[in-house]
C-alpha cells in the first residue's frame, strides 16, 4: 500500500498502533478511536503527529473534543460502494472546520478519487494496481462541478459552475455597460 498525496506517491511514515501497542517515544502514529479517547492526555503530549482511524458508522461529532490534537483523520471505505465516509469528511471540513489531513483508506479506486477530493479527502492509501498517471487522470477528468463549496483545498480543483456563471454574468454586465458607455 502507498500514500497518494497531491497527485504523487508519498512515503508513509505513519505507524499504526493497535489498542495495546506501546506508544513510541516519538514519530507519527495512527490510533483507533477508543485509544484516542482513552489516552488523549498522553497523546497530546506525544512528540510526533497524531492520527485517528475512525470507523464509518460512528458520528463525526464524537470526534469534536479530540480534533485539537489530530493532524489527520483516517476514514474508511470498506467497499467503494459504501459512501458513508464522504459525508463524514464533508462534516469534518464544513461543520467542524477540521484543517488537518483526511485520509481515505480501504477500497479506494481512481474512479471515485474526484468525489473524495471534493468532500475533503486529501490523502489516499492505495494499492499498487494503478500508477500515478492513472490516478492523476481520474482526478482531473471532470473539470467542472455544480455543487457549491465542495472544492478541494489543494491541488487540482474543478471549477464551480454556479460561481463561474456569476463571474461571467458580472463580466457580461461590465462589457454591456462599457459598450453603452463608449457608444
Amino acid at each position: 500500500m502507498r500514500l497518494l498525496k497531491n497527485g504523487e506517491f508519498a512515503s508513509d511514515d505513519w505507524t499504526v498502533l493497535s489498542e495495546d501497542d506501546v506508544l513510541p517515544l516519538n514519530g507519527d502514529v495512527i490510533v483507533c478511536f477508543d485509544r484516542l479517547m482513552r489516552d488523549y492526555a498522553q497523546l497530546k503530549a506525544h512528540d510526533g503527529r497524531i492520527a485517528v482511524s475512525f470507523p464509518n458508522d460512528c458520528a463525526v461529532e464524537d470526534l469534536d473534543d479530540y480534533l485539537d490534537i489530530l493532524d489527520k483523520v483516517v476514514l474508511t471505505f470498506p467497499v467503494f460502494t459504501d459512501g458513508r465516509a464522504y459525508s463524514q469528511a464533508r462534516q469534518l471540513r464544513q461543520q467542524f472546520a477540521f484543517e488537518g489531513e483526511i485520509q481515505a483508506s480501504g477500497n479506494v479506486l481512481p474512479d471515485q478519487l474526484a468525489f473524495m477530493r471534493q468532500c475533503g479527502f486529501d490523502v489516499f492509501l492505495v494499492n499498487g494496481r494503478f500508477d500515478a498517471e492513472q490516478w492523476q487522470k481520474a482526478a482531473t477528468s471532470m473539470t467542472l462541478t455544480y455543487q457549491n463549496g465542495y472544492l478541494p483545498e489543494r491541488g487540482f480543483a474543478p471549477a464551480d459552475v454556479w460561481k463561474r456563471r456569476e463571474v461571467k454574468s458580472n463580466d457580461q454586465l461590465r462589457s454591456d455597460f462599457e459598450e453603452v458607455w463608449t457608444a
Binding site: F115, Q147, N148, Y150, K163
Partner: protein
C-alpha cells in the same frame, strides 16, 4: 425550456469522454465487471434479459422537438426502431451494444441530453407534473426547481454512493400528478399564511416490496432554504440508511425504523449545524434558470374557439378525444393535448422512430416546440391553440395515435416485465394487451369512468401497481406466472397503497377477473361515483365476493 450554456455542455461532454474511457477499459480488461457495473449504471446502462439497456434521462419529462428527433434517430440507428417511455418520464432503449454507447451518449449531448444517474445508488432523474407550467390549477411552474435539482444532483460528490437509489418528485400544483407521496423525497408547493409559495418536504415514500406513503418532514420551507435542507435529509440518509440488506436500504425503511419524529429531529439538527452558507449562489442560479421557463408568447385568444366547437360537432371521434385527452390550459384559447401511447393490443409506452418523429413535427408546428413525457407513459403537447386541435387530432389519427382513453381503462401502465427485464418474475405487457382487447370498446370505458390499471412484473413495482385503482403484480409460482390483484391504490394528493384482494390468478384468468371487478363496481356505484370512491366507501368485500365466492 432550459438551454445548456457552455458549462453544461462541457460538463456533459467531459462525462461522456470519461465514460468512453471506462468502456474502453472494460473492453480491454483493465476494469473488472464488478468495478465497471456501478460506473455503467451511473451512466444509465443496464444489462437486461436479451441485451444491454440504455435509460436516457428526460429531465422532469420535458423534451424539445429536436431532442425528440434525436431520440428517434438513436432508436433507428443504434436500436431496433423504437423506444420505451417509462414511469419515471424517461426513455429506454432495449438493444444497444456497449461498444456503441459512447457514440450514443455523444449524440445525446449534441441535443443537451444525457443518461447520467438514470440508475445506480444515487439521486435519479427528478420527475414532475407533466402539465408543469400550463396546468390551470398550478401555483407555480416547478421546473426551475427541477432543473436546479438536476444540476445539484449531477455527480454530487457526497451522494453518489448512497445505500440505495434515490428518487425525487416535485409538484407545483395542489392536484398531485407527480405522485410525490411515493418518492424518497417529494416536494409539494404550498402557500403559507402570508401567501408566500414554499415547499412541503415529504420523505420516505416508495413502492417496491415495502410500499409506504411519505411522511411530511417540513410543512413549509422557504424556497431559498431548499437545497441546504435537502442536503441535510440526504446526509442523514447517507450516514444512517441501512447497508446490510439491499431490500431495507431505501430511506423509507430508515424513517420507518427511526420513527418520523426522530428522523425529523436528526434532519433539523443536521440542517442547523450545516447552515445555509451558499444560499445566495443558489438563489441567483435559480433566478437564472427560471428565466428559461418563461411561457411562450401566448396569442391573445378568446377562450372559446369557434373552429374547435364546429369540429367537435362535425366529428364524434374527435369530440370524444377532445373530451378525454385534452386538458384545461392556464392560457385562454389554449389546450393541453395528451397523446395516449396505449392502443388496443399495443405495448404501453413504446413508440417507434416514425411516431417520435411525428410528435416532434406536431410539437414544432402546434406546440411551441415542446413535448412532455408522463409517468403514465404517455406524451403531451403542452401549448396547443384550441383552433388547432382538429389538425393535431387528424395527424395523430392518421398515425393511429389519437387513442381516446386517457385516464380510462385502456390507459394501462405496464413495466417491460419478463419480456425484457432481468429482474422480472412474470410478464406484464401481455396482460396489458389482453385487458386492452377485452375492453377495447371505448363506450364501455367511458361508462366505467376514470380508472387506473397498473401492472408490474415483479415486486420492485416499476409498473406502480401499488398505487393503481386496480393493481396487478406478476409473481413466479413454481415456474409459472401468477398475478395478484390489489384494489384501492392512488398516487395523487390523497395517495394510498392498494390492498391485495385474495389468491392470485393465472395470466389467462386476469382479464375475466378484471371484468368481474368492473361489473361489481357498476352494480354498486352511487350516482357519478368513481371506481376509487366506490371502493373507499364499500371496501374490498363485494369485490372479493364477486371474484372468489363462486369458485
Amino acid at each position: 425550456m432550459y438551454r445548456y450554456d457552455e458549462f453544461d455542455h462541457r460538463f456533459v461532454r467531459e462525462r461522456t469522454t470519461q465514460f468512453r474511457d471506462q468502456v474502453t477499459r472494460r473492453l480491454s480488461g483493465e476494469l473488472t465487471e464488478d468495478e465497471f457495473k456501478p460506473l455503467r449504471l451511473m451512466n444509465g446502462v443496464y444489462l437486461q434479459l436479451h441485451a444491454y439497456m440504455l435509460r436516457v434521462a428526460v429531465p422532469y419529462g420535458t423534451l424539445s422537438a429536436p431532442q425528440m428527433r434525436q431520440l428517434a434517430m438513436i432508436a433507428e440507428r443504434y436500436d431496433r426502431g423504437y423506444g420505451h417511455f417509462t414511469t419515471r418520464q424517461n426513455i429506454q432503449y432495449n438493444w444497444p451494444a456497449l461498444k456503441d454507447l459512447p457514440d450514443v451518449l455523444d449524440h445525446l449531448a449534441e441535443v443537451e441530453m444525457h443518461a447520467i444517474q438514470t440508475s445506480g445508488n444515487c439521486i435519479r432523474n427528478v420527475t414532475t407534473d407533466q402539465w408543469a407550467g400550463v396546468a390551470a390549477d398550478e401555483i407555480a411552474d416547478p421546473r426551475p426547481i427541477c432543473e436546479l435539482l438536476r444540476q445539484w444532483s449531477s455527480l454530487h460528490p457526497e451522494f453518489s454512493f448512497l445505500p440505495r437509489k434515490f428518487k425525487i418528485a416535485v409538484t407545483g400544483a395542489p392536484q398531485d400528478r407527480a405522485a410525490v407521496a411515493v418518492h424518497d423525497i417529494g416536494l409539494h408547493m404550498h402557500r403559507n399564511a402570508d401567501g408566500e409559495a414554499g415547499w412541503e418536504v415529504l420523505a420516505g415514500g416508495g413502492q417496491g416490496r415495502t410500499p409506504m406513503i411519505a411522511v411530511t418532514v417540513r410543512d413549509w420551507l422557504p424556497e431559498r432554504e431548499l437545497l441546504p435542507y435537502l442536503e441535510a435529509v440526504m446526509r442523514v440518509y447517507n450516514l444512517h440508511g441501512r447497508r446490510d440488506n439491499k431490500y431495507k436500504a431505501r430511506i423509507k425503511i430508515l424513517i420507518h425504523e427511526l420513527g418520523a419524529e426522530e428522523f425529523r429531529r436528526q434532519v433539523e439538527e443536521e440542517f442547523a449545524r450545516a447552515g445555509t452558507p451558499e444560499v445566495e449562489v443558489e438563489q441567483r442560479e435559480l433566478a437564472r434558470i427560471a428565466a428559461y421557463f418563461a411561457p411562450p408568447a401566448y396569442e391573445d385568444l378568446q377562450d372559446v374557439s369557434t373552429e374547435f366547437e364546429l369540429a367537435k360537432n362535425g366529428n364524434r371521434d374527435f369530440a370524444n378525444w377532445a373530451k378525454i385527452n385534452v386538458a384545461e390550459h392556464k392560457a385562454p384559447g389554449y389546450a393541453i393535448v395528451n397523446i395516449s401511447l396505449k392502443p388496443v393490443d399495443g405495448i404501453p409506452g413504446d413508440a417507434t422512430t416514425e411516431e417520435m418523429n411525428l410528435v416532434a413535427d406536431l410539437s414544432e408546428r402546434y406546440s411551441a416546440n415542446e413535448i412532455r413525457i408522463t409517468h403514465r407513459q404517455n406524451l403531451v403537447l403542452p401549448y396547443v391553440r384550441k383552433r388547432d386541435l382538429f389538425a393535431v387530432w387528424s395527424a395523430l389519427n392518421d398515425a393511429g395515435l389519437a387513442i381516446a382513453n386517457l385516464g380510462h381503462l385502456g390507459d394501462i401502465i405496464a413495466c417491460p416485465g419478463m419480456d425484457y427485464c432481468a429482474l422480472a418474475t412474470a410478464r406484464s405487457i401481455p396482460i396489458a394487451q389482453d385487458i386492452s382487447r377485452k375492453f377495447a370498446d371505448l363506450k364501455r370505458q367511458y361508462d366505467v369512468g376514470p380508472l387506473t390499471i397498473n401492472i408490474s412484473g415483479c415486486i420492485n413495482a416499476c409498473g406502480h401497481h401499488h398505487v393503481a385503482h386496480i393493481g396487478i403484480l406478476g409473481v413466479d409460482k413454481k415456474g409459472k406466472e401468477f398475478y395478484q390483484i390489489t384494489l384501492g391504490g392512488a398516487s395523487d394528493e390523497n395517495a394510498s397503497i392498494g390492498k391485495i384482494l385474495g389468491p392470485g390468478f393465472s395470466g389467462e384468468e386476469v382479464p375475466d377477473a378484471i371484468e368481474k371487478i368492473i361489473e361489481t363496481y357498476i352494480a354498486i356505484r352511487g350516482e357519478s361515483e368513481t371506481f376509487l370512491q366506490t371502493y373507499r366507501r364499500v371496501g374490498a368485500d363485494p369485490f372479493k365476493e364477486a371474484l372468489y365466492a363462486t369458485a
